[in-house]
């Protein structure tokens, strides 16, 4: 637990230091990220060996106390967010095209990481509200770093985020009024499937879906993610939207009465399929490269939402593994894709997809990173995306009644293949290649390739990973 606490406090402390010292030192943030990663890894080891742990703040007993909770999945998410953050920090400090080098990016991204870590570790409804607000504000400020043209999307994001928080808070208030506790595991033992609970849970779900840009509340995401600086886009897509998703998961799988969860499951799963198809369709149509990547986030979140919905509907804890593998695989692949896309468009001097003609020759590594990451998004074996898809498919095939859901996965796969190869095929066009306006930065290209290779490398540890996620002792 100590290690997890360090992983939580270190980024917050660094953010404070940077602000107080008026320093914008990238090196300091990289060092902090590295230490955070080590602490997170230690907590992962700790929780694997010693089991789940709790920390009661101020030593109050549970109904009163705010408590932090370290579960295996929390520790994994700590490691995951530290990894992505470290990667993005190195990119932001190292790339020639990074526009965030001497800006407020550094304290803000540390704040972002700190609040996200607090979110993973929290276990009660109000704490989550606080962390969500922090996360949202940091994210909005980061989007606005792009300058004047990003103010519109950032403002949009801010208003929506605040509105969503209010809706969520309303749900929390209802739940508190009804049961008098906020701790999710205590709630889980008490909740009944009455109207108040139903309304409370749906309000919270609505707020969280808005924040996580889950279909049909996704409209703010493509503009915000596409207009943000590259490093920020990567952080937002890979990490930030996963926060509300985590709360949603715990809300329904731990806190809600079974009856309600079974009732709500199909709704969420259908929304997931719609996200896959419609988000994918928009990604197929958009003329802008970063919009394409952002719409792909909307689509890919559909897989996670589908896994969540089905795990509620069928009451199958085994689908947890599918859900979190989707989150990990998507986070890694999307970080890679945004960095590659950002580098490509910065070197080419154009934000259009059509400007990518011939990039396999001019910037092979960046394009390769994009393609490899795309392969995982499609779910090609043996990438991480494939493993997640496999885990999601298995229970669908087990019972004949579940078969229709397979169509959703089939369509999702085909449409992701469509938008990924839309870009990749263009990159092979040698008839009329677009010469880069600015010199490509090879270091940044290799950096973009790294997480994509990691997500394919998951194949090497796939079996222990799946066993670990499904809770089978090693």
């Amino acid at each position: 637990m100590t290690a997890a606490l360090i992983a939580l406090l270190l980024p917050l402390f660094t953010a404070l230091c940077l602000l107080l010292l008026r320093s914008r030192s990238g090196v300091l943030v990289i060092v902090t990220s590295l230490l955070t990663l080590l602490a997170a890894a230690w907590s992962l080891y700790d929780v694997t060996v010693n089991g789940p742990q709790w920390l009661e703040l101020g030593d109050w007993p549970p109904p009163l106390a705010i408590r932090f909770q370290l579960q295996p999945i929390t520790a994994l998410l700590l490691v995951f967010s530290a990894m992505i953050h470290l990667l993005v920090a190195v990119y932001a400090a190292g790339s020639q095209h990074s526009k965030t080098r001497y800006t407020d990016f550094w304290p803000l991204s540390c704040l972002l990481q700190g609040s996200l870590n607090a979110l993973w570790l929290s276990g009660d409804l109000f704490n989550w509200y606080v962390t969500l607000e922090l996360l949202g504000l940091a994210a909005v400020a980061l989007v606005a770093l792009s300058g004047r043209k990003a103010y519109g999307p950032a403002l949009n994001y801010l208003l929506l985020s605040l509105g969503a928080s209010l809706v969520y808070l309303l749900g929390v208030a209802l739940a508190y009024g009804r049961y008098g506790v906020l701790d999710i595991s205590l709630l889980g033992a008490m909740t009944e499937a009455d109207t108040t609970t139903r309304i409370a849970w749906w309000l919270m779900t609505l707020g969280l879906m808005l924040k996580a840009a889950l279909w049909p509340f996704h409209l703010w995401l493509p503009r915000a993610h596409a207009s943000a600086p590259t490093a920020v886009s990567a952080l937002l897509s890979a990490l930030v939207v996963k926060g509300p998703l985590f709360i949603l998961w715990r809300l329904w799988s731990e806190g809600a009465p079974t009856e309600l969860a079974v009732e709500a499951g199909p709704v969420l799963a259908v929304a997931g399929i719609a996200a896959l198809i419609l988000g994918g369709w928009s990604a197929l149509r958009t003329p802008w490269l970063k919009s394409l990547v952002a719409y792909s986030t909307v689509a890919q979140l559909g897989y996670a939402l589908m896994a969540l919905g089905l795990l509620m509907y069928w009451q199958l804890p085994a689908l947890d593994a599918a859900l979190w593998l989707f989150v990990l695989a998507h986070g890694l692949a999307k970080a890679s894709m945004f960095l590659a896309a950002g580098e490509l468009q910065a070197s080419l001097g154009s934000k259009r997809v059509s400007a990518l003609r011939g990039t396999t020759e001019t910037m092979p590594v960046a394009m390769f990173a994009f393609a490899v990451a795309g392969g995982s998004l499609i779910g090609l074996p043996p990438s991480g995306g494939f493993l997640a898809k496999w885990l999601l498919l298995e229970p669908m095939f087990e019972t004949v009644n579940h078969w229709p859901w397979v169509v959703g996965i089939l369509l999702g796969t085909l449409i992701s293949a469509g938008y990924v190869f839309r870009v990749v095929a263009l990159a092979f066009d040698r008839a009329d290649p677009v010469p880069p306006d600015f010199s490509p930065d090879r270091f940044a290209h290799w950096l973009a390739l790294l997480p994509a290779l990691v997500v394919w490398g998951l194949a090497l540890i796939s079996e222990p990973l799946i066993h670990w996620l499904t809770g089978v002792p090693l």
Binding site: L380, F397, E398
Partner: protein, 508 residues
């Protein structure tokens, strides 16, 4: 499933895959002008693979086990294994990879982006080797998808508008097929995991409730593999993919892609379902009709093509379905015919594509009507072409005759006499579209002057009629196609291997 003892034999299958993968990855990093290093790497990889396959052939014939396994999914190991069936395919791909590498080096001399080309070329062969050695369905599907990814850059290599169009069509078909095959594999996986392929099939006899599941999974798998095997109506990508460079076409048609599909069908029928279950569930009948229809359809379409490579492409659509036909007959003799055709068609078709490439590179001949008298200018290439074409028609003693003979006997054996009509009809159609080419090449008067003579080699008829690296691969594979036909009765022939495999599958 823990290995009792790790011996060197466990590593041979992995080494076969790596023997092309590692050189391939290294080639990506080379500069364009490092020709010598690149060529050396290519050839070392190709020769090493051939040696390793030779070792495995030697070992399997002595009853040694070559099995490499890694944990991958719950109940689904990643298995690479050399058995009789996989050896047939892996030997074919190893031999043809060597000749095709040689051919590609000559073909692309001076062309841009060769490091990229040979890099993907090696990846493609690695995926094919993995596919051939795949020991269970999960592993097979994995390499099936990787093959798609590795071949796409080769199809679009030229980077022209047509190449990109062909590439997109190719992807649409193969990724769609791959997804279907994956769904089929997951569906079967839920019925007790993905154990290793077993001669005679590993699935238990179908009960009332599993009937539907097994039928659906069969449909999904056959549809998935049928895309690459170019079964009607899933064959559309193959003729469009003709815009790729000739070595790639050779690879797609003879060595890797269509063979991967056909091999997948063979695996599913024999080693997943098994002949007994197939017969009990009556699954093979639709497959048989589809194969027969594709055979005739491909031949008829080939008849109307005026472009040489297009005609060859439709001929492939037709010829690959012979493999499916032999498998779908579900009798031991037909099975021998189908399995041996996997090798025979590879040898003959690769020869034809080398020759078509030679005509195009040396004299810019693309259309069939431009072939008048080409035999006088390029007699050796034309001779190799003739061997391939006659083999396709089924003229003894070329390899194709052996396949057709066994397929015919096999059809009679299981009482499907009407299949003979299909074979005869297809033979006639083959003759109708190949003989005019041979006639033009040998007997029509050549033009007074070849308009676009590249003067590769010495420019004179004979061994210098084109670049030696283009000529020799064609001569070698043509001789092989002849030899495996003439020596079909000996122990070393593909026919004998096919017989051996079939004895295992049918428990004879």
């Amino acid at each position: 499933m823990i290995e009792t003892a790790t011996t060197w034999t466990n590593w041979v299958p992995l080494a076969i895959v790596l023997s092309s993968l590692l050189p391939g990855l290294f080639i990506f990093t080379l500069r364009e002008d490092q020709v010598a290093l690149r060529t050396t790497l290519n050839l070392i990889g190709a020769v090493l693979k051939l040696v390793l396959v030779g070792v495995m052939l030697w070992g399997v014939a002595r009853g040694m086990e070559f099995r490499f396994a890694l944990p991958f999914l719950p109940n689904g190991l990643l298995i690479l294994k050399g058995d009789a069936l996989s050896l047939q395919f892996v030997t074919l791909s190893a031999v043809l990879w060597l000749t095709t590498t040689l051919y590609a080096i000559g073909y692309l001399e001076g062309a841009p982006l060769r490091s990229r080309f040979f890099g993907y070329f090696s990846l493609c062969v690695s995926a094919t080797a993995g596919l051939a050695l795949a020991g269970n369905l999960v592993t097979f599907v994995l390499f099936y998808e990787l093959l798609t990814l590795a071949t796409f850059p080769l199809v679009v290599h030229r980077g022209t508008v047509e190449a990109l169009r062909a590439g997109r069509i190719y992807l649409a078909y193969t990724l769609g097929g791959g997804t279907l095959a994956l769904l089929g594999a997951v569906l079967l996986h839920t019925q007790g995991g993905s154990p290793a392929f077993v001669p005679g099939g590993y699935l238990p006899a179908a009960g009332e409730d599993s009937q539907l599941i097994l039928t659906l999974a069969f449909g999904l798998l056959i549809a998935g593999f049928g895309v690459k095997a170019a079964l009607f109506p899933l064959h559309g990508w193959l003729p469009t993919a003709m815009v790729a460079p000739a070595p790639v076409s050779a690879l797609l048609h003879a060595v890797a892609v269509v063979k991967a599909g056909a091999f997948g069908i063979v695996r599913v029928v024999y080693d997943v379902y098994g002949v007994e279950l197939m017969t009990a569930m009556d699954l093979a009948q639709p497959l048989l009709w589809l194969a027969c229809f594709t055979i005739l359809y491909g031949s008829v379409r080939a008849l109307f093509q005026t472009d040489l490579k297009k005609r060859l492409a439709f001929s492939t659509v037709s010829q690959v379905s012979y493999v499916t036909l032999g498998v779908a007959l579900l009798g031991p003799i037909g099975a021998v015919g189908g399995l041996v055709h996997l090798v025979h068609q590879g040898l003959m078709k690769v020869t034809l594509f080398y020759c078509a490439g030679n005509f195009a590179e040396t004299l810019h001949i693309h259309k069939i009507r431009e072939m008048d008298g080409v035999g006088k200018r390029m007699p050796l290439t034309m001779a190799a072409f003739t061997v391939g074409a006659l083999g396709m028609i089924g003229v003894p003693p070329v390899a194709g005759f052996i396949s057709k003979w066994y397929l015919g006997l096999g059809a009679l054996e299981v009482g499907a006499d009407w299949v003979l009509l299909v074979l005869v009809g297809s033979g006639l159609l083959n003759a109708l579209y190949f003989l005019p080419i041979l006639y033009r090449g040998w007997f029509a008067p050549p033009p007074a002057r070849w308009a676009h003579d590249e003067k590769l080699g010495t420019g004179q008829p004979g061994l210098g009629e084109t670049h030696w690296m283009l000529l020799w691969p064609a001569l070698i594979t043509a001789s092989l196609a002849l030899l495996v036909g003439i020596l079909a009765g000996t122990d070393l022939s593909p026919l004998n291997w096919a017989q051996l495999t079939v004895n295992l599958e049918f428990d004879l």
